[in-house]
Amino acid sequence: MIAVLVEVEDGRAALVSQEALTFARGLAGDGDSVEAVVVAAPGTDLSAVVGDCAAYGVARVHVADSAELSSYAAAAWAGVLDTAAGDASVILAGGSNRGSEILAHLATRRDLPMAANAVSARVDGSTTTLQRQVVGGAVIETMTLAASPAILTLAGHAVEPVPADAPGAAEVVTTSPAIAADDLRARVVSVTPRAGGDGASLTRAKIVVGAGRGAGGPDGFGGVDALAAKLGGVVGVSRVVTSLGWRPHHEQVGQTGNRINPDLYVPCGISGAIQHWAGCSSSKTIIAINTDAEAPMVTKAAYAIVGDMHEVIPAILAELDKR
C-alpha cells in the first residue's frame, strides 16, 4: 500500500496533493493500492476531497476527526499519518511547506530517512532509488533510500496531475485518534487572512506577469500591475525586488518564494537567475520582455520582446485597449 498525505485547499484536494496521488499511482505495482490520509479541523466538509481522491484512483481515504485537530499542529498531523499509513511501503506528500514539515516529523518519529523534492522513484523491496531536485532544481541528485517505507515529498509541479483512467469509489475510514499532549506544544493559535494579493493566489494563477530589477525602483511597477489586471493575472516578482523592499515577499517567485505553474508567464526585466527559474520553470508558455537578448530568461522563453519594459508595456496596454 502507498499512503499519500492529501492536503485540503478551498475544500478540494490541493494541487500538490493531486500531483502526489498521480505519482503514487505510477509507483503502485500490481495489487498495490493507494490510500489517502486527510487531516482537517473537525466539521470540515471533506466530501469534495474524498471525491477528488476517488477520481485519482484512491481505494481508501483515512479521515481523522478529533477535537484536538481544530488548529494545525505538524506533530499531531504526523501522528495521525503515522497510524493511518500503517505498514505502507511508501509514504508520500506533495512538496508544500506543510507536506514537507509533516513528513519530516513522520520520518523522525519512525527513525527513517526522508527524501524531499523527488521527481522520480523506483521502489525495489526495501531500497528506493530516486531522483530529486537540489539547488532549486538546477541540479538533479540520484540517491538511495535504504529503508522501508520510503518517505518522500514530491517536488512541486514536477508531475502533471492526471486522474485515473477507471476510478472506483473510495471507502472512507474515519478515525478519532488520541493526540499526545507533546504533539500540541507547537500549534497555530491564530490565522490572519492576507489583505489583497497573496502567495496562494500566485501559485494558482493561470497568468502571471513578472517584474525584476528592470522595474528600476518601487515606483516602476505601474505597467506590470496594469498588464496583470488587464489579462486577469497576478503579479510575481524576482528575489532582488523583494530584497530591495520594492514589493512584499509574498509576491516573490523563486526558490525562496512561490513556485508558479501558470499557462502564461510574462517576466519583465528579469534576467532569470537559477533562484528565479526554480520558481517559474513549470510555466507552460513564457513571453519574456528584456533589454538583453542573451539573458537566461529570454533564451529559455518561447517568445521574447527585446526592449525596455517601461517602453514596451505601455505600447502593449495601448494595443490591448484598441481591441
Binding site: T108, M114, L231
Partner: protein, 254 residues
C-alpha cells in the same frame, strides 16, 4: 535576555551556471564562491534581535573554510561560534541533527542552555527540509518550521509565518527549535566595527561525535538547459502588436 543558537550552512553561490566536482558527487563552488543560505541569513538577523544581550551563538558543520560564514554572522552581532569541522557532503540530515544536538548538550554541560535554536527552513543546496525537526526531537523540544518573524517575551516565543489561509501565529514555550524562511526581516550589513569584533570573537572547534551515516547520495547531474528556441517577436514598443496576436494564438485573449 535570551540565549540563542543559530545554525547555518556554507553553500555554493548558485546565480550563474552550476558546475560539479570531478567525481560528479558534489557542487564545485571554486569559481562561483560560497555564501550562507538565504533563509539562514534571516535566521541570523532574527537571532541577533531575539538575543537582546543574551548569548548569541552561531554554529556550522562544514569544512575549515566555513569559518568565513561563521565570521560573517559574528560580524553582524552574534557573540561566539561553534565550528563542527567536517566534510558536510558526507553528512546526511540525520547526521547533522545528531551533531548539533551533541554540541547543544556539551554547552549545557558547560553551563550554557539555549532558550531558542534557529535554523534555515531548508538549505539552498541540498534542500532536505528536516534537520530542524530531527534536532527538536533529539532534544525533546517543540519545533515550528517556515517562520518569518520571532519575538520572545516571558519564556514564550511568538512566531509568525505564511500558511495556506493567511499569516499564522504560534506561541511556543521555550526552549524550542524554529526554522526560518526568508521574507520577514532584512539581514543587516556588518559595520567596520562589527568586522573587527568578528575577528576576535571566540569560535569553538569541535570534532564530530560519531561517523556519519551519509545522505544516500549516489551522484549529481546538471540537466542540460532547454535548447534556445526563443522566437523574438520584435524590438521595443513596435513589438506590441505581435505580443497581442501571440496572446490570441495562445488563446489567452480573444
Amino acid at each position: 535576555m535570551t540565549n540563542v543558537l543559530v545554525c547555518i550552512k556554507r553553500v555554493p553561490e548558485a546565480t550563474g551556471e552550476v558546475s560539479l566536482t570531478a567525481d560528479g558527487r558534489g557542487i564545485d563552488g571554486t569559481h562561483s564562491g560560497y555564501t550562507t543560505s538565504p533563509n539562514e541569513e534571516c535566521a541570523v538577523e532574527l537571532a541577533v534581535q531575539a538575543a537582546d544581550g543574551g548569548q548569541a551563538t552561531v554554529l556550522t558543520l562544514g569544512p575549515g573554510d566555513a569559518i568565513d560564514q561563521l565570521r560573517s554572522a559574528l560580524a553582524v552581532g552574534m557573540t561566539d561560534g561553534i565550528h563542527i569541522e567536517a566534510d558536510s557532503d558526507a553528512y546526511g540530515p540525520g547526521d547533522v541533527a545528531r551533531e548539533i544536538a551533541a554540541a547543544v548538550r556539551a554547552r549545557e554541560a558547560g553551563g550554557t542552555a539555549y532558550d531558542l535554536i534557529l535554523l534555515g527552513n531548508d538549505a539552498a543546496d541540498t534542500g532536505d527540509f528536516q534537520v530542524g525537526v530531527r534536532l527538536a526531537y533529539a532534544l525533546g523540544q517543540p519545533v515550528v518550521t517556515g517562520i518569518q518573524n520571532v519575538s520572545v517575551a516571558g519564556g514564550v516565543a511568538t512566531l509568525t509565518g505564511e500558511g495556506p489561509d493567511g499569516t499564522e501565529t504560534y506561541e511556543v514555550s521555550l526552549p524550542a527549535v524554529v526554522t526560518i524562511l526568508e521574507g520577514g526581516v532584512e539581514p543587516r550589513y556588518p559595520s567596520v566595527m562589527g568586522r573587527m569584533k568578528a575577528k576576535k570573537a571566540p569560535v569553538e572547534v569541535l570534532a564530530p561525535s560519531a561517523a556519519p551515516a551519509g545522505s544516500g547520495r549516489e551522484s549529481l547531474t546538471v540537466p542540460p538547459p532547454p535548447p534556445n528556441q526563443v522566437q523574438v517577436l520584435g524590438t521595443g514598443p513596435a513589438a506590441a502588436p505581435a505580443f497581442v496576436s501571440t496572446l490570441v494564438e495562445l488563446g489567452v485573449i480573444r
